[in-house]
């Protein structure tokens, strides 16, 4: 009975310290290599981004003063008030356009349209994401600046950028309403909810955090876009007083700043400061997206089993 001492040698198939593939000492060499290699590859991937942030910040911050965000540009000097305000105004208008088209479009395909029509719209939206943004810029120029006669203006830039942002908002909305669990719909309808009551009282509270995430993500992508607004507006020294005056924008300012910088080195400084501000806005919007997503995950935990 005494299995502890003097036990007969174990057969190979019973031995816990051996295996047919040979001796296994804890983690294998390959295991270890991958454990080191993957973080290394990740570092290689983000190094250029970190370098870029450092590069922009180190050139923007030494000469950064409060007057940069409180005064308008004058020539190559002055502040960046008009591109900041212009960017925000264009973004606001574009967001309204993207919500009007994207949110209601997503609602329509997720809740109301038949599968074939909805499928066609989904494909169109995916294609729209793939359209090079300079072509969208050209479209905005032809339709809004020329055909509608709005000229280079806040309206033309905002609407063009809004069209650029629409598929992002659309996809988030469509997906958010489609992913409301079917048993939740059954329960609501079974309790006597009308289709509209289901939509407002049940589906929207569940879907809204994802929709909001999509909207902010579209804003974060849109605010840095240059091509869609390049032909629709033009850099100017003062913020627009109406929809049909041109609005300057940070990406345009960076672009023209570098162009002028070839002749006038001081313009480069302003371009870096504009780039830094744009990075701050983009990072800020992304952080906001994270916060909303985390909050909604906590609230809806347990719903999607």
């Amino acid at each position: 009975m005494g299995a502890v001492t003097g036990a007969p040698p174990l057969a190979a198939e019973d031995d816990l310290r051996r295996d047919r593939s040979g001796h296994l000492r804890g983690r294998t060499v390959l295991d270890r290599c991958i454990g080191w290699l993957l973080p290394l590859l990740f570092l290689v991937a983000i190094a250029p981004i970190l370098d870029l942030v450092y590069w922009v910040a180190s050139r923007a911050l030494p000469t950064f003063t409060l007057s940069i965000i409180t005064t308008n540009p004058s020539g190559a000097a002055g502040g960046l008030l008009s591109p900041i305000v212009g960017s925000l105004e264009i973004l606001l208008l574009a967001t309204l356009v993207a919500i009007a088209l994207g949110f209601f479009g997503g609602l329509a395909t997720a809740e109301y349209l038949d599968e074939e029509t909805a499928g066609a719209i989904r494909v169109t939206a995916n294609v729209m994401v793939g359209i090079p943004s300079i072509i969208l810029g050209l479209f905005g120029f032809i339709v809004f600046v020329k055909y509608f006669g709005w000229g280079a203006s806040l309206a033309a830039a905002g609407v063009t950028l809004g069209i650029f942002m629409t598929p992002y908002v659309y996809r988030a909305t469509d997906l958010a309403y489609l992913s409301v669990p079917p048993h939740i719909r059954e329960a609501a309808v079974g309790s006597g909810a009308t289709p509209l009551q289901y939509l407002f009282r049940v589906a929207t509270p569940i879907a809204f955090p994802s929709v909001l995430t999509g909207i902010f993500l579209a804003m974060a992508i849109g605010v840095g876009e240059t091509a869609p607004i390049l032909l629709a507006t033009t850099p100017v020294a003062i913020p627009p007083l109406s929809l049909f005056q041109p609005a300057s924008a940070l990406p345009l300012y960076i672009w023209s700043g570098f162009e002028n910088g070839l002749i006038l080195p001081v313009a480069i400084h302003r371009a870096f400061q504009a780039a830094f501000l744009l990075l701050v806005i983009v990072v800020g919007l992304n952080v906001l997206v994270r916060i909303i997503a985390a909050r909604s995950r906590r609230r809806l935990e347990g719903l999607f089993q």
């Binding site: 309808v189 309790s191 006597g192 009308t194 009551q197 009282r201």
Partner: protein, 258 residues
């Protein structure tokens, strides 16, 4: 097939020749069955016999499944629920429904119970009173009264299912439809739901779909046995489970299918 409940009481729900078909299959074939006040009928049968479709025809949930053709009449207090002048939304408000899996909404316990009342814009006082009463009738009040504002999704599965029963009861329906309400619950939670149902059958019409003969024996007054879309046999629970008249019924209750 006898109408064993007697002619003294007029039925609350009368199913009259209901058939449900898809393009190439008959799911229910001319079912007729009455449900009188204060009774608990268990609808039993093997998987795929049409028992779920059957209770979904009663409150017009079946028509939400694309491709189903529904024929025949379902009378609620003498009115055909399929009459073109009847809004299905109103039918569903009159006959509460509880599903296989707990289906609480991501909101507080209170708001879940109040859902049906909010749909009809009841006053706050009315909602407060009805929610308390519904939670008591569903046997959940003692467990949740101290945290009515807490999230319903934090409750256990059995509590969530009783909350769903409370949600259905809060609008004071005369009929409660339950589609295998304990199939996702553990034995202890199942027992609490069954105890709740035994109280409810003293007050309203309860129609319980179950594949579990033991559950039918424990809680029901009457059993209806469906097989391949046919109503094979219906009778008082004790009679039918001890002395089934039909061969198929006997095979089912002795566990020879499924």
């Amino acid at each position: 097939m006898t109408a064993e409940s007697g002619a003294m009481t007029t039925p609350v729900v009368a199913v009259d020749g209901v058939s449900v078909r898809t393009r190439d299959r008959t799911i229910l074939d001319k079912i007729s069955l009455d449900f009188s006040a204060r009774s608990l009928t268990a609808v039993v049968g093997p998987s795929g016999c049409g028992k779920t479709t059957f209770i979904r025809t009663l409150n017009r949930m079946a028509e939400l499944t694309p491709g189903l053709r529904i024929q025949g009449r379902v009378l609620y207090l003498g009115q055909d629920v399929y009459d073109p002048t009847v809004n299905p939304v109103v039918v569903r408000r009159r006959m509460g429904m509880v599903f296989q899996r707990p289906t609480v909404f991501p909101a507080s316990v209170f708001e879940n119970a109040a859902f049906g009342l909010r749909l009809v814009r009841a006053s706050e006082e009315e909602i407060d009173a009805a929610v308390t009463e519904a939670l008591q009738r569903a046997g959940l009040w003692d467990e949740v009264h101290s945290h009515l504002d807490g999230p319903a999704l934090a409750l256990s599965g059995g509590q969530q299912q009783r909350l769903c029963i409370a949600r259905a009861l809060a609008v004071r329906p005369k009929v409660l439809l339950l589609d295998e309400p304990t199939s996702a619950l553990d034995p202890a939670a199942t027992q609490r739901v069954e105890a709740t149902l035994q109280h409810l059958k003293e007050e309203i019409v309860v129609i319980l779909v179950t594949h579990n003969v033991g559950q039918a024996a424990r809680v029901s007054d009457r059993v209806a046995f469906l097989h391949s879309g046919h109503l094979v046999e219906v009778g008082a629970t004790a009679d039918m489970l001890e002395r089934p008249r039909e061969k198929l019924t006997e095979q089912f209750i002795t566990g020879r299918f499924e």
